[in-house]
């Protein structure tokens, strides 16, 4: 059988200088096609874990392997394989127009201009922003900005997309737009990991849920098996009975 593992962590620990926070002894494996929710209250270590996947932080001990390669030794490979959408879209958008911003990643990879045009067009069409390609990002709505941040990652054709609180500070229409993109990406077989407080928006798509607390993974199972454990860790249970689509 082919090896479907993309990300693997081995005894991964990362402690911030001068504090006791971080992540401790994380062992997990992310396989192709999975949709994983990482849930936990503020400070539980979700963002730190994602930054380690993206080689933005260096582990204090242990390692992150991307297709068997150590992310610290191969940061560009790690970032090409694992695209990260940050919580604050405004800080992720660097281009003067929607098009320029989407092209930023492929330009960094020094791809030929023709390939960049192809990738940018495809990413913008996929998330429904192609008609806004000449707009200044500062004139976009919150939902559109979040989708633009996603387009910027998609144009780098990552195997895994990591979302850090994608619905934070989004109004209802913005959340619906983003959710529709996430649903379409999931349907196309994209591997995704989402850190989220409000799990009811995406729980119906999830194939797996990880609960983090104080920098440790305390539960890792299918979502249905963890519903009654959520409130113990400061996570709100989905409204209604069981796992149902949000809209």
């Amino acid at each position: 059988m082919p090896d479907t593992r993309i990300i693997e962590t081995k005894d991964l620990t990362c402690i911030y200088d001068g504090s006791r926070s971080g992540v401790f002894n994380i062992n997990l494996c992310v396989s192709k096609g999975e949709f994983i929710i990482v849930a936990g209250k503020n400070g539980s270590g979700k963002t730190t874990l994602f930054r380690l996947f993206n080689a933005l932080l260096t582990p204090s001990s242990g390692k992150v392997l991307i297709h068997g390669k150590n992310s610290v030794k191969h940061p560009v490979f790690a970032r090409r394989t694992t695209g990260m959408v940050f919580q604050d879209a405004d800080m992720q958008i660097v281009g003067e127009t929607v098009y320029d911003d989407t092209a930023f990643g492929p330009e960094n990879l020094k791809l030929p201009r023709k390939e960049i045009h192809h990738r940018v067009d495809r990413a913008l069409k996929k998330i429904g922003l192609f008609h806004l390609k000449d707009r200044n990002p500062s004139t976009l709505s919150g939902g559109e900005k979040r989708r633009l941040a996603l387009a910027g990652v998609l144009s780098m054709t990552p195997e895994v997309i990591v979302f850090d609180e994608p619905f934070a500070n989004l109004d209802y229409p913005g959340s619906l737009e983003l959710l529709s993109c996430i649903r379409d990406l999931h349907a196309s077989g994209q591997t995704m990991i989402i850190a989220i407080h409000d799990i009811e928006k995406v729980i119906s798509f999830a194939t797996r849920m990880i609960i983090m607390d104080n920098g440790k993974i305390v539960h890792d199972n299918i979502p249905g098996a963890l519903l009654d454990k959520l409130t113990c860790y400061g996570i709100r249970q989905p409204a209604g009975k069981g796992i149902v689509p949000w809209v």
Partner: protein, 250 residues
Amino acid sequence: MGVNAFTYTPSGSYVEKADVRCKLFALSLLSISTLKAGFFPLIMMIGLLFLIIRGEGKRSGRLLMELKYFFILLFFVLGARALTTPGDPLFVLFNLEVSIQGLKHGGLICTRFFTIMLMGIVFASTTKPSLVKSGVEWFLKPVPFIPEKQAAVMIMLFLRFMPLILEQAKIIKDAHKARCADLEKNPVKKAVRLAVPLLKKTFLSADQLAAAMASRSYSQQRTDPEFYPSGNEGLICVAVIFLSALLFLF
């Protein structure tokens, strides 16, 4: 974000379609020539620039209104020249002589500044900011010891984040006003109260921005910029050289 005289507005005009490198060359050459030009060619040049500005769909009256603070600066330049240049006295103001030669010289300098300002407006309003970045990168490429790609990214970040920082400053000011901070009359205290949270927020944002850029594999080895020549650049360059010669000689 408000639209002003410098804001790029697509018009499909001859000037807008020209390659940014050609426009940067024209702007540089004409600006240098303007510094040597006399009154008559300057007036002709201003007339030509207003025609171009009108062709771009901008109203001259509104443009002049938007430049009111620039005119105040020119007024001070004119005053300083008139009062400090020795020559035939025109009249005496508070024991200070205003000379005819000073007024003429000051007027000439102000007209030159105004001409360069109009050229800047034509350039900025007909050129996409992202293309300005590409043009600067192209011109810096042969200059040794200057990392042109880094300079281009700095321009891009400046264009992108300056409005965000100004917006943040406005939010902080409003938050202060909401707690009656406008009753404080000491400008130093006011500035400190604004600067501390603004700098804190800006540094935090810079940290996040660096992480976001790293996650998108930012490096100085990037794809070269793309240019869009219209095919009329040769003609424009010849016209600009001819115009510069006229400005320089007369």
